[in-house]
Amino acid sequence: MLKGFGLVTILALAMACGGGDTSTEGASTPAPGGAPAAPPTDLITADQVKLGEIDPGMVAKGKELYDVKCQACHSTGTNRVVGPGWKNLLDQRKPEWIMNMIVHTDAMLETDPEAQAMLEECLVRMPNQNLSVDDARNVLEFIRSL
């Protein structure tokens, strides 16, 4: 029962929050055939995220972004507000996974099983806050500093 309810809810969510869907772009004239498939997204890979000593400059930039764009839903503790708390987050998630959730939010929610499991738990589709890869890297540094 519970499982079934979860699935139905996710379906409804996907329909209600279809804002990030980019799959229909580009067809400016009526063309035969069905809707085009979602374009492949180049997810960030592990080797693209190099972690060294924590950089205080990046942490400061990350916190600035956090205060405006993330803090409404994520605490810097371990408690969940709307989404999970960020303290010790790297014990549970890989750095590139965190970066992908920030930068490629919609692609992750559509394809990544862990992201989908989170959605089933949190029930609010994580907003794509349109951070660049550099922004996301600074936010990751802020998360590391917590």
Binding site: T9, A12, L13, A16, C17, G18, G19, G20, S23, T24, A27, S28, T29, P30, A31, P32, G33, G34, A35, P36, D67, V68, K69, Q71, A72, C73, H74, S75, T76, G77, T78, N79, V81, V82, K87, L123, V124, R125, P127, N128, Q129, N130, L131
Partner: protein, 662 residues
């Protein structure tokens, strides 16, 4: 009675055109057979695919501008312009109220007739769309990156801004000609008996300059004219660039029962304005500053709010002193449409009560002006010889010609109101080559780029004034009916009917590629310069300033901060400054509060909007998000406690950040 000869001349057309819409159950035999087998495939846009054209349609008596996709006829958007729109808070939010300010105070409605695109080199460039406010004379500029009204300017010394907002080939000026002439000047000069019309009433045509960088508008100059009515207009282009043409009526200068008294003359005029010359006179200081108080309202996407500027005077040019500014070309019987063909050589005056369509030649007009080939003058303005400026007449095109659009192959398409049809004719030879019935009583018609130097052609859309039996009945009031025709082949072909919103007059269609990739998806929160922005939930707070309470509020899926507020008293004015922290496309949040005597707010991502709320009773009042935003949308709510006036409940708000629970 001029209509009698017309009736006898075209009894069959009249029977088809007038009798049918009025007599139910007496449809012409070709109503259904007018649609051929493959029409459906030509208008079908598969799910998930885009239309080929954006179609911008005047809302008429709803005062707005609607946007459709062509060829599907699907409505994409209704853009609030001159009328308040409670659904988005337009005219109700503190930020948008100044947009509707005028010298008459706050005006919540208008009647918007004509849509004209910004142009570069005589071709629509996809940057702006203009629309006129007819009743309280104004022009609005709509930004096609946001699909929002950016500027509204009031037109002084004008009444009934009908012949507007037509534009010069490089968007130098949009024009505004007064429909009703008026007594102008000081209070004493304006307070005159109506029956002194001929002596005291004057017209004006204004040239309004949109600033290329900001989209702000200003009145560059205004030309004083004889006291007649101006109806429609179009700019010259190509060889006629530098001239503007206005149709006129009531050259009888009647002031009562115009239906009869303004239909006496055999010919009224097309007025030709040499605006390059006017520009030169302005540079030479030959204009005169005269009283002309007006508002210029501009919305900033940086501060997310509108501001009003009040201008006291306008620069006026008097053609009695500057005698080579204006010329009249005689045009049969109360011309309505005034349309210039893509080459810029031919000017079509649609005499709505005439049984022919006169086509004037620009080259001949210049020759007549140079040779002073006048048949007289009207109130000091030279009247050129009709025969000398005429290219020719389209004979017996149908009844009640109103407007003409053009394709890219040398053909013109005229709407015939009385005989309910579109008539296609060759601009050079003036031969009628095709005609199709419309259902019913067509007003304007529109071809993509159809009043520009390079029409895209392909379709013509008829905007019909009478709907009758075209759709399922909905009581006495019916949606106005649009009809899409293919003009690709030698014969016009009816493709579809679709209902529209408001009462469409003129419309424009632009290829989707000119616009779609420039569309703004959200406002960057870091660029938000609103004085009451809340830059992140940590900044959320409540501040009292005397009787004013300012709530700095944020929203994001799916909560408001703060969401519990106390210490507000009856008699306070509460300003909810709501900032949407979302940074994704198509995620607005709504804000509604019980007992609001205004409306709701719809706040776009990254934007701040303010609702003023004046509680009238004690109690706890809820507020909530009206735009279904997530599975927890129904939880997106809050409470505000209202205490009696003089209460000591301290002002407080639970601005505790999510961060607090470590």
């Amino acid at each position: 009675m001029r209509r009698t000869p017309l009736t006898t001349a075209f009894p069959l057309l009249l029977a088809a055109g007038i009798a049918v819409p009025l007599a139910q159950g007496c449809k012409p035999a070709n109503t259904k057979s007018a649609v051929t087998g493959n029409a459906a495939s030509k208008v079908f846009v598969p799910p998930g695919q885009y239309d080929e054209f954006y179609n911008f349609v005047s809302g008429g008596f709803n005062g707005q501008m609607s946007v459709y996709g062509i060829p599907s006829g699907r409505m994409l958007r209704n853009i609030p312009v001159f009328s308040v729109n409670p659904e988005s808070g337009w005219g109700y939010s503190e930020e948008t109220k100044p947009m509707l300010m005028s010298t008459h105070g706050f005006i919540p409605w208008d009647d918007s007739h004509h849509v004209e695109p910004s142009m570069t080199d005589g071709v629509p460039d996809g940057r702006w769309m203009f629309i006129n406010g007819n009743n309280t004379p104004r022009i609005a500029l709509i930004d096609l990156t946001t699909f929002r009204t950016k500027t509204i300017i009031e037109i002084p010394n004008s009444a009934g801004n009908h012949s507007s907002p037509f534009i010069t080939p490089n968007s130098e000026y949009v024009v505004a000609g007064t429909r009703f002439s008026l007594p102008l000047g000081t209070d004493a000069e304006r307070d005159v008996p109506i029956d002194t019309y001929k002596k005291n009433f004057k017209g004006t045509v204004s040239f309004v300059h949109p600033d290329k960088e900001t989209g702000k508008m200003s009145i560059a100059f205004q030309i004083l004219t004889p006291g007649i009515h101006f109806d429609l207009s179009h700019a010259g282009k190509g060889p006629s660039d530098g001239w503007f043409f206005f149709s006129t009526y009531n050259t009888e200068q009647a002031h009562e029962l115009l239906e009869v008294n303004a239909s006496q003359n055999d010919k009224d005029f097309i007025m030709a304005v040499n605006w390059k010359k006017a520009e030169q006179y302005v540079k030479e200081g030959k204009g005169k500053m005269v009283p002309g108080r007006h508002y210029m309202n501009h919305y900033s996407d940086e501060t997310h709010m509108a501001t009003s500027e009040v201008v006291e005077q306008v620069l006026q040019l008097d053609p009695k002193e500057l005698t080579d500014l204006l010329y009249f070309m005689p045009c049969p019987k109360s011309p309505h449409g005034c349309d210039v063909d893509p080459t810029g050589e031919f000017i079509v005056g649609s005499g709505k009560l005439a049984a022919l369509i006169p086509v004037f030649s620009f080259e001949k007009m210049i020759k007549a002006i140079d040779g002073k080939d006048y048949e007289g003058e009207f109130d000091g303005i030279p009247v050129l010889n009709y025969e000398s400026v005429l290219h020719g007449e389209v004979k017996r095109p149908g009844l009640g010609p109103l407007h003409t659009e053009f394709d890219n192959n040398g053909f013109a398409y005229s709407s015939m109101f009385v005989s309910s049809e579109i008539v296609k004719w060759n601009v050079k030879t003036l031969e009628v080559v095709d005609r199709v019935p419309t259902y019913y009583s067509i007003g304007h018609l529109s071809i993509p780029g159809g009043d520009s130097r390079k029409p895209w052609g392909k379709y013509v859309i008829a905007y019909n004034k009478i709907t009758k039996d075209r759709y399922l009945p909905t009581g006495p009031e019916l949606a106005q009916s649009a009809q899409l025709f293919s003009i690709d082949g030698p014969k016009m072909e009816l493709l579809s009917d679709y209902p529209s919103i408001g009462e469409p007059h003129y419309a424009q269609s632009l290829p989707a590629d000119l616009i779609k990739d420039k569309s703004v998806k959200f406002f960057k929160i870091e660029d938000n310069k609103h004085p009451y922005v809340t830059m992140g939930e940590k900044e959320a707070r409540v501040v009292r300033d005397g009787k004013n309470v300012h709530v700095y509020m944020t929203c994001i899926r799916s909560h408001f901060a703060p969401d519990n507020i106390e210490g507000v008293k009856v008699g306070d004015d509460v300003y909810f400054h709501v900032t949407n922290l979302e940074q994704d496309w198509d995620v607005p949040h709504g804000f509604a509060i019980k007992g609001a005597q205004t409306a709701e707010l719809l706040i776009m991502p990254g934007e701040t909007q303010t609702l003023k709320w004046t509680p009238t009773s004690v109690g706890v009042k809820p507020f909530y998000c009206t735009d279904f935003c997530s599975a927890l949308h129904q939880e997106m709510q809050g409470y505000i406690r209202v205490s009696p006036a003089g209460s000591n409940v301290p002002l407080s708000a639970n601005t505790k950040a999510a961060d607090a629970g470590l």
